[in-house]
């Protein structure tokens, strides 16, 4: 159990410190301290060690570097892989084939399905249903766990078939794939996805019995990537904000600024000097219109749970996406199966001159940005990666502060209660802490 302890320091009445937030990816703690009624400090301490990805890959061959970057994070390895490879291709002016792009998107959807299923069923639902983990939850609600596992499995299998495994896909290379899936494999994926539609809807049904918290409700800026095909996707080239502005992905360095804070190995990001949110909820808030089918119907039905001002809604937005992406992947796999070019060769990268490549995409948790610079020998000369968690950290801290203040106002004193509420908010963001620890500014 995350420890919530009250120590007796001067002038601090009841500080709360959670050493290690459980059920998130990576190591982080929360620290809150109060003086009287006022909340002084709210910090999301990221003590997950730094791994210096952008620095260790400097001077390294680009092929090897794009194999290493996805190791930033296991929950969104495919997201990193696709985004990194796209940035690399942009840097060396290689244009992948349409088939390659489609396969990458299906792979990416596999990551979404797996990551959302894991987050909702394994990490978040136990909170909602009052268990300390999914295993104890599974003992009393075997069906819920089974549905979650089935979703996770299909997401994982898509990645295994297309990418070689569901954590750290090596089959995704600059220029294409080492080995293409067979028509039969794609058809099997489609059939399996069809069979799992109900399980996907079940996640949402299970969640809606749970109410959003008013304490963290506040207006906020959301950023999300405009889907390339105007439907709903994680791929695209323009970032839009709920303020109505937009910018090209290539220009993210100018819009999103980063700074080092003492309590975190992850840097903090701001958009026009404001904290902002990036997440499934942001995608939904900005591009929810692009949804279709059951996802659209259910989103309308449960619109009260999809409040862009309330971070707790992110869970519901993820559940809606789960339904949508199960359908989208089914459709795409079937289409691709029918006109698969099984002998299409990977385009071998030819690097003749130096270049710079930028790529942004929507990872399951939000915006992910890559900039890679290569010299004419194909060696990395600069790298910049901003992960979703690094982007939303200031917003997350703001929400935690709001919650702490509201609870203080309501007179809630029990550190256990406060602690577990704070943790639940953190979890709603589905942070990827190990992801966040690698932001760099290299000129």
């Amino acid at each position: 159990m995350a420890k919530a302890k009250g120590s007796k320091k001067k002038s601090v009445k009841h500080p709360i410190s959670i050493d290690h937030v459980a059920r998130i990816e990576g190591k982080a703690g929360i620290e809150v301290s109060y003086t009287g009624k006022k909340v002084d400090v709210v910090q999301f301490n990221i003590f997950e060690g730094p791994r210096f990805f952008e620095s260790i890959t400097l001077g390294k061959p680009i092929n090897e570097a794009v194999a290493v970057y996805p190791r930033i994070c296991s929950f969104c390895a495919a997201a990193h892989k696709v985004t990194g490879v796209q940035a690399a291709e942009n840097a060396i002016a290689l244009r992948p084939t349409e088939q390659t792009k489609k396969l990458r998107e299906i792979l990416y959807i596999g990551d979404f399905i797996e990551s959302h299923a894991l987050h909702l069923f394994l990490l978040a639902l136990p909170d909602f249903l009052g268990y300390h983990d999914a295993f104890t939850l599974g003992e009393e609600h075997p069906d819920i766990l089974r549905a979650g596992m089935a979703l996770k499995d299909i997401g994982a299998d898509i990645q295994t078939i297309l990418g070689s495994r569901y954590i750290h896909q090596e089959n995704v290379l600059i220029g294409g794939f080492g080995k293409l899936p067979t028509k039969k494999q794609l058809e099997t994926i489609a059939d399996r996805l069809k069979g799992i539609r109900n399980d996907a809807e079940e996640a949402l049904e299970n969640l809606v019995s749970y109410r959003n918290w008013p304490e963290v409700d506040a207006e906020r800026i959301h950023l999300a990537l405009k889907p390339y095909d105007d439907t709903y996707s994680m791929l695209g080239g323009t970032v839009q904000s709920t303020e109505g502005t937009s910018f090209r992905a290539d220009a993210y360095k100018m819009r999103i600024s980063e700074s080092v804070v003492p309590h975190s190995f992850a840097k903090h990001s701001h958009f026009n000097n404001e904290p902002f949110m990036t997440s499934a909820l942001s995608r939904f808030a900005l591009f929810g219109d692009g949804l279709d089918g059951r996802a659209k119907e259910l989103a309308e039905m449960y619109s009260a749970h999809l409040d862009p001002s309330n971070p707790m809604s992110n869970n519901f937005a993820q559940a809606v996406e789960l339904i949508y992406f199960v359908n989208r992947a089914e459709r795409m796999s079937r289409e691709l199966a029918s006109d698969l070019k099984p002998y299409e060769r990977r385009i071998k990268p030819k690097i003749e001159k130096a270049g710079i490549g930028v790529s942004m995409s929507e990872a399951p948790r939000g915006l992910l940005a890559y900039t890679l610079k290569v010299d004419k020998n194909g060696k990395i000369t600069a790298a910049d990666i901003i992960t979703p968690t690094a982007m939303f950290l200031p917003m997350l801290e703001a929400d935690l502060r709001r919650l702490a203040e509201a609870l203080a106002e309501q007179g809630v004193k029990d550190p256990e209660t406060i602690g577990s509420k704070l943790e639940t908010v953190v979890r709603a963001y589905d942070p990827c802490v190990s992801c966040s620890v690698h932001i760099a500014d290299i000129q």
């Binding site: 060690g49 290493v68 495994r165 080492g178 309590h263 975190s264």
Partner: protein, 271 residues
């Protein structure tokens, strides 16, 4: 047969799953094996932060799975505490076993340089360290390599452990499995820089089965039987230069003590 000798059939062995600095992939792998519910029933999970809020540091366990490299002072403290409280300590995955990809710049850049390149002048109160494998700091009873480890190896280890023993570790390279898988050899055929010959087997030549040359994610074959020199010589003949060979072999092998001397043997002198 008694599962854990000390308590016969009465108690379930206690398990802890801990992370140092890593991508959390090995834990994710462990948490998502097909037979996870069977495992959960056979053992008592004392600590598994990624999955359970009922997790604690410092409780006594029969086996501690440690993921991640030692990359902060806090990692080191935690590792020592874990070691003190565990009967068997298993290094889980490439970071714990070999130091992980974060060791790629080992020998080229020290911590200060890495820090400056990422955080610039920015100050952070916590203290980081150059990434190192777990066995540099504490006794490791068993190694489960892989980035991430393979499901069958995890299962074999767990079932054998519950049975009171452990699988004989593999001391041969990926090539062997590549052959059994019926792949063509892309090193011979296309001259691709495959690290299969120096990488610990166990993945059933996963990447080669996808026509992708092995990048060595399972780490160098143990017991000094990763013949970097022979492979480097071969790569050299196929037209790769020293820097490239070294960079590639170091992704997962940076902490192997034979790597640099063996490269020196082929290319002469230190870099």
């Amino acid at each position: 047969m008694a599962i854990i000798e000390e308590c016969g059939d009465i108690c379930r062995p206690k398990i802890g799953v801990y992370a140092l600095t890593s991508c959390y992939g090995c834990q994710l792998k462990l948490a998502t094996v097909q037979k996870i519910m069977e495992i959960v029933q056979a053992v008592e999970i004392e600590s598994f932060y990624m999955i359970s809020s009922a997790s604690r540091m410092g409780s006594d366990v029969d086996v501690a799975f440690v993921e991640g490299s030692v990359s902060t002072e806090k990692d080191l403290e935690e590792l020592k505490e874990i070691r003190e409280h565990s009967r068997i300590l298993v290094a889980l995955g490439a970071c714990a076993v070999n130091g992980g990809v974060q060791s790629w710049a080992e020998g080229d850049k020290d911590y200060k340089k890495l820090y400056a390149e990422v955080y610039g002048e920015g100050k952070i109160t916590m203290q980081g360290r150059q990434a190192t494998p777990v066995s540099d700091h504490v006794k490791v009873d068993y190694f489960l390599p892989g980035c991430p480890p393979e499901e069958d190896e995890l299962m074999y280890f767990i079932s054998a452990f519950l049975f009171g023993t452990f699988p004989e570790p593999k001391d041969y390279p990926v090539c062997a499995e590549c052959r059994l898988a019926g792949n063509s050899c892309i090193l011979i055929e296309k001259g691709e820089p495959c690290l299969g010959p120096v990488t610990t087997a166990g993945c059933k030549a996963r990447c080669l089965s996808h026509n992708v040359p092995c990048i060595g994610c399972r780490g160098p074959v143990p017991h000094g039987t990763a013949w970097f020199d022979s492979l480097a010589k071969l790569f050299k003949e196929k037209g790769f230069d020293r820097d490239y060979i070294r960079d590639r072999m170091k992704i997962f092998g940076a902490h192997d003590e034979n790597l640099e001397p063996m490269l020196d043997k082929i290319f002469g002198g230190s870099k």
